[in-house]
Amino acid sequence: MHFRFTEQAIDTQSARTELQSFSAGGYVSFEGWVRDFNEGREVTRLEYEAFQELAVKEGHGIVTEALRRFPIKHALCIHRIGSLELGDMAVWVGVSAAHRAEAFDACRFIIDEVKLRAPIWKKEHYRSGDSGWVNCERCAQAAEHPHTQHRHGRHTAPNSK
């Protein structure tokens, strides 16, 4: 599978070796880090939870789609679940390709789609003592920018299998 979960810190150096190829001239990776501030509130830690069976299927489908759409060599996404502290890595995406432009495009495509489509949730714990589930980036954007169309994922059954 091109997508997996871990309950430990993501070992990016080991994951990177899965993407090596003598025909790859460029490698792009993305890491999502737990940030101390979100939507105007001070965050102290996060909890990630996933519907793992479907999320792995969906994540694998996203990376497979990237491998079909972009001329890249290898791609992989690893998502952490459980309790995370500030600065911890929540998600990692790595892509190798003959040329760098495609590696950038594919890496960005994968993280954008994973955030949009994979059934993963996070609960933010705030300095003020309360907590809340981050319902989705686009809902939040829509709330901040009422003229932006409100979308959070695809509400119809996808035709991927």
Binding site: E49, F51, I120, A157
Partner: protein, 79 residues
């Protein structure tokens, strides 16, 4: 008809459980959500959710069968 339901995130907390096996007369995920909404007082409306049946995304109008595993999917926030 017996169905298996799993709850995640906000809905897990609101239902007070991760999963349950339920005897229901709901014929579709839409009917089932209406029934559970009344029981647990979920704050998310159906148009904010997606639904999966047997670990595949599904239409709300799909006809449910005995033993189906249903998961309601709140707006996601991975990464």
């Amino acid at each position: 008809m017996q169905l298996k339901i799993q709850y995640y995130a906000l809905m897990r907390e609101q239902a007070g459980r991760s999963e349950e096996t339920l005897e229901t007369s709901a014929g579709t995920p839409a009917d089932l959500y209406d029934e559970l909404l009344a029981r647990y007082g979920f704050t998310l409306s159906r148009d904010q959710l997606r639904v999966a049946v047997n670990s595949e995304f599904s239409e709300w109008s799909r006809k449910l069968k005995v033993g189906d595993a249903v998961v309601f999917i709140p707006p996601v926030a991975g990464g």
